[in-house]
Amino acid sequence: MPFENRIHRVALIEDDGPLRTLLSRHIRQSGFETRGFASAAEFGAAAAESDFDVVILDVMLPGTSGLDVCRWLRQRSNVPIIFISAKSSHTDRIVGLELGADDYLVKPLDPGELVARIRSVLRRANGPVTEMGAEVGIVRFANWRMDQRRRELYAPDGSRVSISEAEFDLLIVLCGMPQRVVGREFLLEQSRDRLSSRNSGDRSIDVLISRLRRKLGTSEGGRDLIRTVRGVGYVFTPVVER
């Protein structure tokens, strides 16, 4: 895959000095080129002359807030943005995502998870799956609606269906390859990659698939959305619209 071939540049905007140093070090150790900025102004000056592949943004910054930086960035580019914030409320999360951020992590963040999320947003930004209109992040299939950024799933009648993080990630992968046979190994690899430290290792793909089927099956015909191809893998049968 092309995005593995060069070193990606990560901008980290975080006003707390020690945390910035620690996070930069960790991200660097994970194979990214990292630059830290203490304020929106510092970042603004640097952003004019160099491109970043991912921007990690603290929400609460002195002066110009992270939300303003996000808005400013979105007017210029589609660079993936990950918020890191001390605020965990649903409203804060939604506000961040509404502004066009790609992900929202709450402090104290798991360093491994941060790196996994960086990889994930990079894949989404570069991969073929999200080429068209992935900005909105809404995926539809068989009258179901899936909000990729908010990580919410709605049944055909509009009711919210509860789904775990791992199942959601699996569904994203399936939606990316509709009406094709998807190998079990590929799914396993994809979900491991996406989930990283979220302890999903010991859960087999089959368990995840059966849980996902159960939840999709709560609406009529939902159970047939994922078909098993014996010995090979699965087919996600509906037409997927974005």
Partner: protein, 442 residues
């Protein structure tokens, strides 16, 4: 002492009505007495005047008549009301000290002053043993031993005559009392409304009417509104401070988490990681507590069945034994995140103290009923209510020290309140706890 208190009603309407009743009774008695006395007076005067006129006629008749005819003529003067007779001899009627007789006598003389030249005697005689029927008897001297004796055939006016008046006054008094009672009731309606609303202070924001009703109540309403503003402000200030500290602690905690991998001793590193995880959970719990109920999003249809088994699966993945029984699909209007936190906290509580949890979902007359059961030690009955209060933990009763800051059930309670539902905690037999969340269907 207690009996006095019983007579004195507790309600405003009762008290005012009682005061009114007292006033009306006083008015009734006084009115009856005055009107009754007047009536008696009028009747006696009237009787006196009639007697005066008849006596004058009788006197003239006697004067003009032949002596032989006198007795017969006088008898013909008798009417249905008074009979007359001519008597010769000593005064046939004893002089009386009865005030009624004296009254009537003075009335006779006042009406026909010419009669004053004759000697006249009046007395009141009871025809029956009772004092009720009293007739007037009298004699008018014609000079010498001759007397015109007269006797009324009807009883003279006494207190019985006043009875009719009293009855009428009484009826009016009752009508006044009834009307006033109704008016007081109407007037006290805003007061009752105010007190009902005041009962709700603290559960939700109550807006008291400041522009309608009597002035005093408007002032009370204004005072209550201001009081609520102050309390809300105070609470908001404290909450804000607590939440800010919660947020601020997360940054150093994030630094700590990144520094932990540098610890070389494996045991120390793992212990430090556990500590950080626990601190994170506590902060999360605190911030969740303040976040639930504040959630600005609208309630939407939520599949509570999938939510329940998703929570069960989540705990199962962490190694706990959590099962779900119930429908595969059940839609309720709900705030998704608070509801999820509530269910998750109830399950977490059961797993912590009971080792395992059984989730069951069913329809309920009011909506839906989600129950989480465990077989732990339960909660002693006197602590069942206390345990929902924030920061209350029952370490002694429920076994070993458990992580958390005692907000789990409070969060569930808050979520139940937010949905207009209820959280019922009860102990199971032989032991264990059943926590039931009842959510309205609309």
């Amino acid at each position: 002492m207690t009996s006095t208190f019983r007579l004195w009603p507790h309600g405003f309407t009762g008290r005012v009505t009682l005061v009114l009743l007292f006033a009306v009774i006083v008015q009734f008695i006084a009115g009856s007495l005055l009107a009754g006395a007047d009536e008696v007076d009028i009747q006696r005067q009237d009787l006196g005047r009639r007697l005066a006129e008849q006596l004058l006629v009788a006197e003239q008749v006697i004067k003009a008549a032949e002596p032989a005819e006198q007795a017969r003529l006088l008898a013909t003067l008798s009417t249905h009301h008074v009979e007359f007779a001519l008597v010769e001899g000593p005064p046939p009627v004893a002089t009386s000290v009865d005030p009624a007789a004296a009254d009537i006598l003075s009335s006779i003389v006042a009406w026909e002053p010419s009669l004053a030249q004759h000697s006249m005697q009046l007395t009141v005689a009871s025809s029956s043993g009772l004092e009720l029927r009293r007739n007037l008897e009298g004699a008018l001297s014609l000079g010498g031993d001759r007397w015109i004796v007269f006797r009324t055939l009807e009883p003279i006016a006494g207190w019985v005559a006043a009875l009719g008046i009293s009855l009428r006054v009484g009826v009016i008094a009752l009508i006044v009392l009834g009307t006033a009672g109704l008016l007081v009731r109407t007037m006290s309606a805003p007061l009752r409304q105010l007190s009902n609303n005041a009962q709700m202070i603290g559960t939700s924001r109550i807006q008291f009417e400041e522009t309608a009703g009597p002035r005093e109540l408007r002032e009370v309403s204004r005072a209550l509104n201001t009081m609520q503003d102050r309390i809300e402000g105070l609470i908001a200030q404290r909450t804000h401070a607590l939440v800010a500290v919660g947020h601020d602690l997360r940054t150093p905690l994030a630094r700590l988490r990144l520094r932990v991998p540098a610890i070389t001793d494996e045991d120390d590193r793992e212990a430090a990681q556990r500590d950080i995880a626990e601190m994170s959970r506590m902060l999360q719990e605190l911030l969740d507590y303040f976040d639930v109920g504040e959630s600005g999003r609208e309630a939407g249809p939520v599949d509570i069945a999938s939510l329940s088994f998703a929570v069960a699966e989540e705990f199962s993945d962490l190694g706990a034994s959590v099962t779900y029984e119930g429908p595969e699909r059940l839609i309720v209007p709900a705030f998704y995140d608070p509801l999820r936190r509530a269910i998750s906290n109830l399950v977490d509580n059961s797993v912590k103290y009971g080792g395992a949890a059984r989730l069951s979902l069913a329809e309920h007359p009011d909506g839906v009923e989600l129950t989480v059961r465990d077989e732990g030690p339960g909660i002693s009955p006197e602590e069942l209510d206390r345990v929902r209060l924030p920061f209350e933990r029952l370490d002694a009763a429920r076994g070993a020290m458990q992580p958390g800051i005692g907000l789990g059930l409070s969060i569930a309670q808050r979520a139940a309140d937010q949905h207009g539902g209820t959280l019922v905690l009860r102990n199971r037999r032989p032991h264990g706890l059943a926590a039931t969340l009842i959510l309205p269907a609309d």
